[in-house]
Point group: C2
């Protein structure tokens, strides 16, 4: 029997790049991986987790509650704590870090202004009733793709973007179009041009959302200003009549709390019209522990209803024990304490990496000082390609160092050639000593070419 | 704007019955719910969980490992422990419980014979390499539906079956056909007739699998004999040439470990040809703790590859902390100790329920003595309907008692009228006192009609 029983989705879904990147790691035992999106191992909150779990499991009452099924939407207490946290983040003035890298203009004034303009209305956007808890924010990206995107549909993404999202698109058979990135987020006029050209070609009815990884973006590290988010939202709105349906702004704030320099920006939830069009996703996996897979989302009510139905079919609710653990960590301030330590730790690891890059990388390789997240995005000079089949990638492997080829982070967008001379390198998982050695090896490889 | 941006799936997916059943519970504060599939609250393993987690989180080494990302397939140690457990269950002689309800013939001889016939070959079916860990077995049911079933496809199910699976089918737009159930599992000749009639109508190419909840089935409590599983597998095989592709047997063993009377039956993994066609799913949620959502599956290798790609898009792996918790509980024998207590407890709760049913139910209501699982399936006499709109259901609500109407557990199968005079009642979640009161109320309602 030659034919398989697979569905179209089953046939179509390709292996994620992460599988063969991991296989390379296994095949090269001395390899230093600057590719993995793992978080820092030494600072994982072992003590905080133990204390929190012991409190929960000390009494039969709270212990049993944590070990029983919860609701599909998630624990009400965790939703309230999370919603309140978000509201505070969006309504307070951006914190000022003592960072020499602080070169961008501050947006705190804009944010305050925007919030003032929307006043009480904005508070309602942060209601626990608009929120659901998920198994990492990844699960929400998946369910939203299922609920909104059909085979042949179009999602607008940053160019480059989070490559696992591109994998979801590939699996579901919708396509992604890249919107150019500037230092403060997407180029809003390019967004407008793209929408306009889709309108002219009669494809606007296929456009379902704009996906932005808005804080310390994976892979570039760029943070989108609030002003740009608000402008993007307004731009989408102008094309809705021609599209014939809502076009959502999906804001993925996975790296928001991993900022260690510069100011915070308010989320798109603070913008005008956000209640009906903005989907905000966040996660506790990266700021707390990646082994604890708890994410969350705030959604327009009609969309939330549909996603909850799908979530009921997926798993009827994220593990209650993990949710209670986060409730306890948040309520006891262990979370906050851990987070400040983590931010300082990543700041140090990032500094270790940039110091090594200044020492070992040729001056022709361009990159920005990171202000948060886990990644540095480095651009090789024109002739030097960085793709999987490139000399650079293969020689780096021989030198026992691995990066994520930039091409993996670009959508298959027919309107431009896919760039192929960038690298995503991570200071998240590797030790400081491995960061120094890995960058030295990568620098040596670069200088060879 | 009238049109929504939803995909076909987003538009199609209906609210799960569980949502309005839960809403009813909230609307009737004095309601005793015999509907919920919750597990026994008092016996949840609070101490075992605390001890296991403290061991894991006592040292930075094991603590950090549990708090970091794992692999998409799941922790290798947990996969090995689980695979070994399954192999032992399938290869040992059925345990003899002292149960007065033991009226079915024992199958242990058949199982041993079957295993002997396949010898070494069968051992390979229980390889950790064929296994993945999921967020509850529900997630695997979902991913398999995605990977195998297209809009318009057909899955054969027990008549009645697990209603959340029917929800997944509804959402994905594939249909289910019911195969009649006997006391020892599906009627294999009805399976054959159904396949034959689908072949004649040219619909066999849409048939992707047979889904069996094979141990203490939800909702009927029926356990499928190994002989029937092997016969069903052989029957499916005979129709594959006409179908043009493999037809899988999906065995859902969610309630296998919750058996408290009668003998175990070997799984379909022990049958001939299982390595290429049997998908086995199990879970630690129900036997250990529903707040800890860890399930597992054993799959034919080519299918496993595809499901792992999809799992990478869903969540790139189930929470490592929960997996380590189960490893520790299994390796320390806390799991086994807890399980025996749990089985005794459910035996007692089931006895409490059947005693009350004998006292309060009219003799015309038919039901079987449960031997495991969480449910009793009761059939009302011909004229008494049990559906959502029935007098029985509405009057039961007035008497403050809730059951799951049997009709929810039947597929929309055009070849027969949907039965509408059965009830699923659970002894899992309610206290013994509530079981007695709930059954008395339900009995009073039944006698009124």
């Amino acid at each position: 029997m030659k034919k398989s029983a697979l569905s179209q989705l089953g046939r179509r879904t390709e292996a994620p790049p992460i599988s063969w990147l991991m296989q390379l790691t296994l095949d090269h035992p001395n390899l230093i991986s600057l590719a993995a999106g793992f978080t820092d191992n030494e600072s994982l909150p072992v003590v905080e987790t133990r204390e929190s779990l012991n409190e929960i499991l000390a009494s039969p009452g709270s212990g049993r509650a944590a070990l029983q099924y919860g609701s599909t939407a998630g624990d009400p207490h965790l939703r309230r704590l999370t919603a309140d946290r978000l509201w505070k983040l969006d309504s307070m003035e951006g914190t000022d870090f003592n960072s020499s890298a602080d070169a961008f203009p501050r947006r705190a004034g804009d944010v305050r202004g925007a919030l003032r303009r929307h006043g009480v209305a904005a508070r309602g956007n942060y209601s626990p009733e608009r929120m659901l808890i998920t198994s990492g924010s990844q699960q929400l990206l998946y369910m939203l793709s299922e609920c909104l995107c059909e085979l042949g549909d179009i999602v607008l993404v940053e160019d480059p973007t989070y490559f696992v999202f591109l994998g979801i698109a590939q699996s579901h058979g919708f396509s992604c179009r890249g919107i150019r990135l500037a230092a403060d987020g997407i180029d809003v006029s390019h967004l407008e041009q793209t929408l306009e050209s889709l309108r002219r070609r009669g494809e606007l009815n296929r456009v379902k959302m704009l996906y932005l990884v808005s804080y310390s973006q994976n892979p570039t590290g760029i943070t989108t200003s609030f002003v740009k988010k608000a402008a993007a939202l307004a731009t989408l709105k102008r094309f809705e009549l021609a599209a014939g349906h809502p076009i959502y702004l999906l804001e993925d704030a996975a790296y928001r709390e991993l900022r260690f320099a510069g100011n915070d920006e308010a989320s798109a939830l603070a913008a005008e019209g956000a209640d009906e069009r903005v989907i905000y996703t966040g996660t506790y996996s990266k700021p707390f522990a990646t082994g604890v897979r708890v994410g969350f989302g705030i959604l327009p009510k009609p969309l939330l209803k549909v996603v909850l139905r799908v979530k009921a079919n997926h798993d009827f609710g994220t593990s209650n024990l993990l949710q209670q653990l986060l409730c306890r960590a948040l309520a006891s301030c262990r979370y906050e304490t851990h987070l400040s330590q983590l931010q300082r730790r990543y700041a140090r690891k990032a500094a270790t990496m940039t110091r090594a890059m200044r020492e070992h990388f040729p001056a022709e390789v361009l990159w920005q000082e990171p202000r948060g997240g886990l990644y540095i995005w480095a651009r090789c000079p024109g002739p030097v390609k960085s793709g999987v089949k490139s000399k650079l990638f293969q020689r780096a492997l021989k030198h026992d160092v691995l990066y994520v080829p930039g091409e993996l982070c670009y959508a298959d967008d027919p309107t431009r050639r896919k760039p192929n001379h960038e690298m995503r390198i991570s200071f998240g998982g590797a030790t400081e000593s491995d960061i120094r050695t890995g960058i030295a090896r990568l620098g040596a490889t670069l200088r060879e070419l």
